[in-house]
């Protein structure tokens, strides 16, 4: 990890959405303004050529972070700098072009993310034309064929329409399109959640091979911890808009510190270890419209004390990870949660 430059850094990123009732209703009924706290003070950096994963349950803000990095969503506070340039500094579309060429995105739903009226060749060629990388003609067609073959499709597929492909093949087309502008960084928002497991394996293997061959950096958004364990070197765990734990992926997955991370790991059904004892996460994620005071996780946390209910924990470095938890800082967590003792993760060992 060390020695490689940072390609992306997210500093103190906060995104809030106004969910207030309309003005007239506020005046007439005295209803208050309401704000969705989607992302609060998120900090992390991604090393070139590595995979950084954001994990968390639905509504925790992971996709909002991704959208902000992609420039689709403006931050309320804080910022994102990509290859050393603050992305908020782009005043014109033209100025943002190199950043857009270098940063591409793969979406979850391969059915919704491809234009059904365009042939695959045109879909894959578009980024190259937009960024002036190739003029329409034989050279462009050659490049399209090359990309399709890179992702495991054939040259003839350029003439077909998206509906002629299966979900896995469509995700391959999405990847070919993302690669077309020769980017350095790809945001993968739940790239395999809509796919069957045997197809998921094909896509994950393809993504790993491309990363090795092209030196790509990935930001992987996923709720599937096993997928994250397979792909990522570093990882951030989000809960209600905040990063509760961040650091080396192996470390966090083998020795999780934050109670939420521990319980989340315990919750994952694993066909390869069905009988490990597990502690259940109680309750559900509260609404981001009115996050609990203090540590947002305290209503579900088995180790919460009075301090957790009023004071927000700030991240502190523990081992190879940053953890935002009073209990960890006060060292009053049991070393193992009940049941995690036999659930120790054995890593490495290529078979």
């Amino acid at each position: 990890m060390s020695g490689r430059p940072t390609i992306l850094s997210v500093d103190n990123l906060t995104v809030r959405f106004d969910a207030s009732p309309p003005f007239l209703r506020r005046v007439l009924t005295g209803a208050r303004r309401r704000t969705v706290h989607a992302v609060e003070e998120v900090d992390f950096a991604v090393t070139e050529g590595s995979t950084f994963a954001l994990v968390g349950e639905s509504g925790c803000g992971k996709s909002t972070v991704a959208r902000t990095i992609a420039g689709i969503q403006a931050p309320t506070a804080g910022g994102v700098s990509f290859m050393g340039v603050d992305i908020a500094a782009f005043r014109t579309r033209h100025a943002a072009m190199p950043y857009r060429r270098n940063l591409q995105m793969i979406f979850q739903d391969p059915y919704a993310s491809l234009n059904p009226r365009w042939r695959v060749g045109r879909i894959v060629a578009e980024p190259m034309v937009t960024h002036g990388l190739a003029a329409p003609g034989p050279a462009l067609r050659g490049k399209v064929s090359e990309l399709l073959e890179t992702v495991g499709l054939s040259t003839d597929d350029a003439r077909k329409f998206p509906h002629q492909f299966s979900g896995g093949q469509r995700q391959r087309i999405s990847i070919a399109r993302a690669l077309a502008s020769n980017p350095a960084f790809i945001i993968c928002d739940e790239p395999t959640s809509a796919l069957d497991v045997s197809v998921q394996a094909q896509i994950l293997n393809l993504m790993k091979r491309l990363q090795k061959e092209l030196g790509l950096t990935y930001l992987l958004i996923s709720h599937n911890l096993a997928v994250v364990a397979h792909m990522a070197q570093s990882l951030g765990v989000m809960y209600l808009g905040r990063l509760v734990e961040r650091g080396d992926a192996d470390q966090i997955l083998t020795r999780p510190r934050h109670p939420y991370t521990r319980l989340l790991l315990d919750t994952v059904p694993d066909p390869h270890a069905p009988d490990r004892g597990r502690t259940r996460l109680q309750g559900e994620v509260p609404s981001p419209l009115s996050p609990p005071a203090g540590c947002a996780f305290h209503p579900r946390c088995p180790f919460a004390e009075e301090r957790c209910t009023r004071e927000l924990p700030s991240p502190v470095k523990v081992g190879g990870a940053w953890v935002a938890c009073h209990a960890v800082q006060e060292d009053r967590l049991p070393h193992h949660l009940p049941g995690r003792s036999q659930g120790e993760i054995v890593s490495g060992g290529a078979t």
Binding site: S166, V197, A201, N205, L225, R280, V346
Partner: protein, 327 residues
């Protein structure tokens, strides 16, 4: 143990413009009283169609084309609509993926539970309300008395699915068909719902057919598992045996392709290609084009189910004649 549900040589066909496509191609299995049978497979393998056929809810263009379904010793695939309706909801209940489709948005949670009970049970309205509250408590809904007055839109996804479970259990069914009951939920809520399902089944002796694409859910929640592939049963047997050492090459590939938290490897095993679609069926064993061990016979002849210990495996590799030769 006599079977509570027995499905024999079930065939379901879908009428297309000029021909009939086979969605379910001759499958047989049983579910014992109180047993949780998992049905797993990729999308399009026929898992949900099987559940729908048992519930008698197949809609055109899909229709039964052969075989028989017996419930508690009585044939149910030939029942008329009225008798089937009386059976459904009382003896056989259903839980679907999206709780909002199973709940009436215009009725409170309490009214829905009470209405279902009054339809099927000899019970007074007051008793029904008391039982509704008990049920909500049993499925782990916080503040059950207040929730009786709540409308479905006021509940979160996890709470709605708990209400659906309460509805499924309210008439003490003997069998529940649960089709991807936790797929729309977050992992932490999924675990809670599976716990409730399992606990309620143990306490009430209810059998479950749990349809899912998630091998993790299968491994944690089921007693036996049926693996479906292209409308056929590839393998059926005790969950433990199947998860630890599957016999069918498809099941083995499927297990190896799942990324694991406990067994990490550099590259995942991948099954090349994709499952054949009903409009382009494959000769012989439906898995042969993707199978690493396929032989000439696999391409021409469909394998019957061979017994391998407590499992049934539809694969020529499991043919005892062949195994004795190679041994």
């Amino acid at each position: 143990m006599s079977a509570l549900l027995s499905v024999e040589n079930l065939r379901v066909e879908i009428a297309a413009r000029d021909r009939r496509l086979t969605a379910i191609d001759d499958i047989s299995f049983t579910i014992g009283a109180g047993e949780i049978l998992g049905v797993v497979g990729e999308s399009g393998a026929g898992k949900s169609v099987t559940g729908t056929a048992i519930l008698g809810l197949l809609e055109p263009p899909a229709a039964l084309a052969g075989g028989r379904i017996a419930f508690a010793g009585r044939r149910i695939d030939t029942l008329d609509e009225e008798s089937m309706r009386r059976l459904r909801g009382k003896e056989i209940a259903a839980v679907f993926q999206d709780p909002l489709t199973s709940l009436d948005p215009l009725m409170t949670v309490g009214e829905q539970l009470v209405e279902t009970m009054l339809t099927h049970l000899p019970i007074k309205r007051k008793e029904a309300f008391a039982r509704a509250e008990d049920l909500l408590r049993m499925v782990g809904l916080p503040a059950p008395r207040e929730r009786l007055q709540a409308y479905p839109h006021a509940l979160s996804g996890g709470m709605r699915q708990r209400v659906v479970l309460a509805l499924a259990f309210c008439c003490n069914p003997r069998l529940i068909i649960a089709d991807e009951p936790t797929t729309a939920l977050d992992v932490s809520v999924q675990a809670q719902i599976l716990d409730v399902l399992r606990r309620m089944c143990r306490e009430n002796g209810t059998a479950v057919m749990l349809v899912t694409h998630d091998m993790g859910v299968i491994a944690e929640a089921t007693d036996r598992v049926a693996v479906m592939y292209a409308g056929r049963l590839a393998e059926i047997g005790p969950t433990r045996a199947l998860v630890e050492e599957a016999s069918h090459p498809y099941t083995r590939g499927l297990m190896a392709s799942i990324p694991s938290l406990t067994r990490r490897r550099d590259t995942l095993v991948q099954i090349p290609g994709a499952m054949p679609r009903p409009d382009a069926p494959v000769s012989g064993c439906a898995f042969h084009p993707r199978c690493p061990s396929a032989e000439a016979r696999c391409r021409s002849e469909r394998p019957p189910a061979f017994a391998v210990e407590a499992s049934q495996v539809a694969c020529w590799l499991a043919d005892p004649a062949r195994r004795s030769v190679s041994a």
